[in-house]
Structures are given as C-alpha cells and as structure tokens.
C-alpha cells in the first residue's frame, strides 16, 4: 500500500512534543508502516514484543553513520561479542550491587534536599536533582569523582541528535565532535586510573583489557555508553514522576502511605511516558509481521512507546493508572530480550530513592514555572523543571 503523507514526521515539533496521536493512527491503520525514509515502523504491542526478542534481528549490521563507534559497545553488537561484553558489565548491576549504589544515590539526594530546605524550597529538579544525583551515582560505580557533569550531559545530547532517522549534516558533525570529546575525556580518566587504581567498574574494564577480554575501543566506548545511559533515561523517569506529583497531589500521598504501590507507580510512569521511544534492528532474513513480509537487510523501528499505549493490551491506555493488573502485559520501556536494559534494576531503585525521599521530607510539590522539553525522535527529555516543595 502506498501512503504519500508522512504519518510519522520525526522532525516535526508537534510530533516531538506529543507523538501519541500519531502512534494511535499507525497502530490502527498501518501497523507496519514503510516510512518515506525507508525504514519499517512497527507500532502494535504484539508485534513489537515479539520482534524485540527475535534473535535473527541484528544490531551489529546496522549503519550508525558518524555514531559508528557505538558498535564497540554491547548496544551495537550481536552474539557472541554482545554476550561477552554483557557478562563483564552485568555483575555491576545485579539487585545486590544496586543496594550499594542506592546508598550513594540516597546520600546525594538528601544533600540536595538539605539545601532546598535551607533555601526557599524551590529547585530546578531537572539538573539540580535528577541529573546531579544519577550522575553522582554512575561516577561512584565507575570509581571516579563526579566532574564535568554538564559537559557530559550536553555531549550525550549532541550524540543523540543525529542518531534518529533523517538527521542533517550539521547534526552529524555535532555527533562526531561529541564522540571525539568523550574519547579524549575517557582516555584521560583511564590514564589517571592506571596511575591511581581503585575498585570501580572502570578498574574492572582495565583489568578485562589487560586480560584480553575487552579491546581498548570497547573499554572507551563502553564507558561512554554508561556515562550516557547512567543519566539519560532515568532522568526523564524521575522528572516525569515529580511533574506528575505536581499535577496529582493524590499520587504524592499514595507514594508516601502505600509502599506496595510504589513499583506500580514507577512502572506506570515508564509506560505512559516511555523515555526511549523506539529501538532499531536490521532484518537478516524474510521477516513476517502481520500481513507484511519484510525482506532481509531492512531497518525496523520498533516503537516501544507506541506499544506501551496499545489499547489491545492496556485498557484506556492514555490514562495514568498505577493499579493496572501486571498480568495484562509488561510495558516495554526497558526493551526486552538479549538487549533488554542492563540498568533497569538501578533505574527503578534510583527513581524510588528520589520519590521516597521527597514524600518523606515534604508535604507536597507544585510547579514554580513552566517545564521545558528537548525531545528528539528517540528520546523524551525534560530540560527544566522548576518546582517548589512545601
């Protein structure tokens, strides 16, 4: 079927600020939509959930353009390299390890809130809380001091800009420069670490390199990957949760009074405002999706944010309801299958540390200004979230 109109205008500001009506139309009318840019867009839960676990799809063979160095990380590798890298990092993010990291997160959050309480109760939660505390935590995991936070955030964003479909030359240049900045920054960190060894994740990567289990490029870009994922999506989860509490005082109270409701609230925030809107794969053989057979060598965009609003799985999908039965369907905000998020236990714990600290210390939260956003086609981000705690 030919559709001339662009049903998924990735670069349209209206689409970026609220893509959900576009997703709804795709799910209903074109569940496998051949985008004018050439990629196949999959939007229904059932199809996305099946394909995201399909072991014949490749990420290694995807063309990342100027972001090609990401192929040195697990995010850009298929088995067996993917398995090797994932096994090296997994032990840093087990539930037991995360208990330790949560203590660091908690100390960082409490320090920020002490200052808020001493001041006038206002805070830009985006940089001042969500970014700062997640950055402190990932640096602790690395075994380094938390320096260059704002540069890391800005460079990560510049890399993200050209990752989406249809980027322009200007953005590609920004991405290349940002990756170079990271490589330089990380080489300095590694030199410093070799001179002053410790017991962090970076030390473990250095040991793995010396034992021949990781290449130097893999070490450098895996550290970049964790700098990025250490703050990027989890920041959105925290910001969106705080924003929701400004809109719905009842949620603030439920979070405080009903600890058993907390995991459901975090899951529902992830479902209703999924930070990462899609994951991308390459077909390596004929792949049947509903009525469509996609040949080998084609790019699939699996819209996890759309799947998470599919009414076939989530009744009344545009309504926030943290009491949804889990059995009806798991949201796909963390992906699933072999590339399923390696940091999901940490991400949930970090968000819980923030929300729990807030509801225990304050009696409510309200907006102290307009929030600002900088969505790209992949990622939803809040750049400013001025709030006042009472």
């Amino acid at each position: 079927m030919t559709v001339t109109e662009d049903l998924l205008p990735f670069r349209d500001p209206g689409f970026r600020s609220d893509p959900y009506p576009y997703y709804a139309r795709l799910r209903e009318e074109h569940p496998v939509y051949k985008h004018p840019l050439g990629l196949y867009v999959v939007s229904r839960y059932e199809d996305v959930a099946r394909l995201i676990r399909n072991p014949t799809l490749s990420v290694q063979q995807l063309d990342f353009g100027v972001a090609d160095p990401i192929h040195h990380t697990m995010l850009g590798k298929d088995a067996p390299d993917h398995t090797r890298l994932r096994r090296i990092t997994n032990r840093w993010f087990t539930p037991k390890a995360v208990e330790e990291w949560s203590k660091v997160m908690r100390a960082s959050v409490e320090a920020v809130l002490d200052e808020v309480e001493k001041g006038d109760g206002t805070l830009d939660a985006a940089d001042g809380l969500a970014l700062k505390c997640t950055f402190d935590s990932i640096c602790h995991i690395f075994g380094i001091e938390p320096t260059d936070m704002l540069a890391v955030q800005r460079k990560t964003y510049e890399i993200g800009l050209s990752l989406g479909p249809g980027g322009d030359d200007e953005e590609a240049k920004g991405t290349a420069e940002a990756l170079e900045w990271f490589a330089g920054h990380i080489r300095r960190l590694l030199a410093d670490k070799r001179a002053n060894p410790g017991e962090g994740m970076i030390d473990a990567f250095i040991a793995a390199q010396d034992e021949g289990r990781m290449t130097e490029d893999e070490v450098i870009y895996t550290i970049f990957l964790f700098f990025a994922v250490g703050h990027l999506d989890v920041k959105h989860l925290i910001n969106h949760g705080i924003w929701l509490m400004t809109q719905r005082p009842d949620l603030f109270a439920v979070y405080r009074d009903d600890p058993e409701a907390r995991p459901g609230i975090i899951n529902e925030i992830l479902r209703i405002d999924t930070p990462e809107s899609m994951v991308v794969r390459l077909t390596t053989q004929d792949t049947v999706i509903g009525d469509t057979t996609v040949p080998a060598g084609e790019v699939l965009a699996l819209l996890i944010a759309s799947a998470n609003r599919d009414p076939a799985v989530f009744a009344d999908p545009d309504t926030f309801d943290h009491t949804r039965p889990v059995a009806a369907g798991q949201h796909l905000a963390f992906g699933s299958g072999m590339h399923g998020c390696a940091g999901q236990v940490l991400a949930r714990a970090e968000a819980d540390v923030v929300f729990t600290a807030l509801v225990h210390r304050f009696s409510g939260v309200e907006l102290a200004g307009e929030p600002a956003y900088a969505h790209t086609e992949f990622l939803r981000t809040v750049t400013h979230l001025p709030v006042r705690f009472r």
Binding site: R50, R53, N54, P55, T83, R86, R87, N90, R91, F93, T94, P95, K96, V326, A327, Q330, S336, G337, M338, G340, C341, A342, Q344, V345
Partner: protein, 70 residues
C-alpha cells in the same frame, strides 16, 4: 538442590542463559524455553554440580525471577 523460576516475573532477558547455558535456553522466538512447560512457577531438582552457574543466574536475573534452594 531445587530451583524455582517465576515465569510471571521473567521477561526473557536471557541473562540466565549467559550464566548457566546448561540449564536455561531461549527458543526461536527469544522466549525462555521453560515457558513451554508452565506459565506459572517452574520448579525442578538440579544436580549440585551446576551450583555455581545456577547461583550466578539467580544473581544476575534483573527481575529476580530465579530462586535457588539448597
């Protein structure tokens, strides 16, 4: 020793497959093969020689779906 895998919690991340390939596998759809046997809690007796692998699997499972009983 005994093992329990709660397939209600499991999201087919396959981390257990990396850790204990003798005990866990993913099928062609990328789902844990144990699902073919039950949708609830899978239980089985496991030989002690697999203890180390099994403990690693239980530890890395992001959903903490695997429990080991000595």
């Amino acid at each position: 020793m005994k093992i329990e895998v709660d397939l209600g919690k499991c999201q087919d991340h396959g981390q257990c497959v990396y850790a204990a390939p003798d005990l866990f596998a993913l099928d062609d759809d990328g789902r844990l093969t144990l699902r073919q046997q039950t949708a609830g809690v899978y239980t089985a007796d496991v030989d002690d020689t697999n203890a180390e692998e099994l403990h690693e699997a239980a530890e890395v499972c992001p959903l903490q779906a695997i429990t080991v009983h000595e």
